[in-house]
């Protein structure tokens, strides 16, 4: 195992190196590769993950946080690359809803990611050269399979809770469908059981922006010493609009001008909203890999839980012992409430144990990452009730 660890750590990008220095990782699939949905066997592969708190004696307090498209395992601490605070600091930490004093919290960088888990940045063990676009296309189910392999490796039989928003929510649904006996509670937030045409369309715009950047070099930009910064930045700008509501944009920026008193009659960032988006785009390039963006958006596009179960979503949850609690936000137009409601209908169709909370918020899709007291309050109540049923003590 140790020898493979070394080879799997070859050819790291800077961000990956910084990330791996600050989290744990495991090398899996050396003996038994991961069979991906596309038919390719992947192995060995590296999984980078972070944990908070400790596993209790009867191994019943593990909580898996599934991260969204461009997030990573650094849930509740300063980010090793950006220096920013943890992306779910509002939910995870001492005294918070997910308190490490009570739960063993795990977050795993997804397969195809760029914060330490194997993705297009990694070296193809067969050739010793970076995968880049030769990396197999992975799916949400593949990501979840890799996570399950890691839990096996860590000796965690089942999870008290699997929770995540957006693509994280898709993983939660996949977990509940694929490993119902390993998931005591499932909390899919601001997500859908399949990616809509509109969402695929937005992703395609982003991917085309990346691939149209001459610096992208058919995905081999690292070997050419270039970065498709313009393309990735435009992809992020487009995506970022979909994370906000119209009201939030209007409230934040309106038609306010940026560093000027009058229109510039040119194409500089006259408006604050333009300046804001450009900033979002350029900072994103510093922390995220363009090829990884292609792969992970593709995984979301391919997600369609019903189609994997004979076209009937309810079949994915038949006989599920899991307690579900879904959340949506009123102003989220990327994953609107009706998408969550469809999941609820499917869960009702198999009489699963389900709660569904719609949170009144004007912050759009991003609301799931923000301070939403109503979400925290209801989630805390749901987890408390479930912990009682599970017999979880207050302190491990």
């Amino acid at each position: 195992m140790e020898a493979t660890t070394d080879t799997v750590l070859d050819g790291l990008a800077d961000a990956e190196r910084k990330a791996l220095a600050r989290c744990r990782h495991a090398v899996l699939g050396a003996r038994r590769p991961l069979r991906l949905d596309c038919g390719v066997d992947l192995g060995p592969y590296r999984v980078a993950y972070q944990t908070y708190g400790s596993l209790n004696a009867d191994r019943s307090n593990a909580v898996l946080i599934c991260h969204a498209l461009t997030l990573d395992q650094f849930v509740a601490e300063q980010h090793p690359v950006t220096g920013k605070e943890g992306w779910w600091d509002s939910l995870v930490g001492p005294g918070k809803v997910l308190d490490p004093a009570r739960y063993f919290i795990i977050c795993i960088n997804v397969l195809g990611g760029c914060m330490g888990t194997t993705g297009p940045l990694a070296l193809d063990p067969a050739t010793g050269r970076p995968w880049n676009l030769r990396f197999p296309v992975v799916t949400v189910a593949d990501m979840v399979r890799a996570q399950a392999e890691l839990l096996d490796h860590l000796g965690i039989p089942d999870l008290f809770c699997v929770i995540g928003g957006s693509m994280g929510g898709m993983q939660v649904l996949e977990w509940a469908a694929s490993y119902p006996r390993r998931v005591f509670t499932a909390v899919p937030i601001a997500c859908a059981a399949r990616h809509s045409a509109q969402n695929i369309a937005f992703h395609e715009v982003g991917r085309q922006a990346i691939m149209a950047d001459p610096e992208w070099k058919s995905g081999d930009y690292r070997q050419h010493g270039t970065v498709p910064a313009r393309g990735l930045s435009v992809a992020r700008m487009t995506a970022h609009i979909t994370y906000l509501s119209e009201q939030a944009l209007q409230r934040k920026f309106g038609r306010a001008l940026q560093d000027r008193d009058a229109l510039g009659f040119g194409f500089d960032a006259d408006f604050q909203v333009e300046s804001y988006l450009r900033h979002q785009g350029s900072t994103f390039v510093e922390r995220f890999d363009a090829n990884s963006y292609l792969y992970i958006t593709r995984a979301m596009d391919y997600f369609d839980l019903a189609s994997a179960h004979g076209g009937v979503l309810a079949n994915a949850f038949k006989g599920s012992p899991t307690r579900f609690c879904l959340f949506s936000f009123t102003s989220d137009w990327l994953f609107p409430t009706r998408e969550s409601r469809e999941i609820v209908h499917a869960l009702n169709a198999v009489a699963a144990n389900v709660s569904f909370v719609e949170i009144d918020s004007d912050k759009g899709h991003d609301a799931f990452l923000l301070d939403e007291p109503e979400m925290f309050r209801t989630l805390a109540g749901f987890l408390k009730g479930a912990a009682t049923v599970r017999g979880l003590k207050d302190t491990p």
Binding site: R323, C325, V344, H345, N348, A349, V350, A351, N353, V354, S355, F356, V357, E358, I359, D360, E374, R377, T378, A380, G381, F382, K384, G385, A386, T388
Partner: protein, 200 residues
Amino acid sequence: MNAIRVDLQLIADMVEPATRALDVGCGDGSLLAYLVNSKRVDARGMELSQAGVNACVANGLSVIQGDADADLRDYPDDAFDYVILSQTLQATREPREVLRQMLRVGKRAIVSFPNFAHWHVRLRLVFGGRMPETPSLPYKWYDTPNIHLCSIDDFRGLCRDMGLAIERAIVLDRNSTPINLPPLLANLLGEQAVFMLRRG
């Protein structure tokens, strides 16, 4: 354990311990909480108001937003031992279909409703000449959610038409005290009623 409203207690008493129940229109979840905590019932709730849903979930109860008319049809046959509809039947668009769905989804249905033939109601209409407003029907005619009011005898009639078996019928007076009277008097003196039904 906190005490619950008398009519809810009567319903709770009809539910066997350690069974499965769905409370349609569960409000603040007090009946659900009682069933879960005192009778170990696997109890789920459905509630129209999102504020009510959120309050229930925050109390650790399994509740979704939904209404009796639209959402009961999602559930499979025989999913629950009991489907409970407390003080809500008169506010549904299609009470007959709701009852049918309740007894498809549940082995038994427990229904409570205000009696529109209570003497108080009769007096208000006959002598006051106005739409009745009473403690159990505290609305103006133009803002009431109660669009399908019925009397206890009306309800018995519907059960007969639908071929449903009445396992229990409890009639309550103005103080929510059960009263034991012949049907004609019960329909006059009962302010509300609780029925437990099963498929005939």
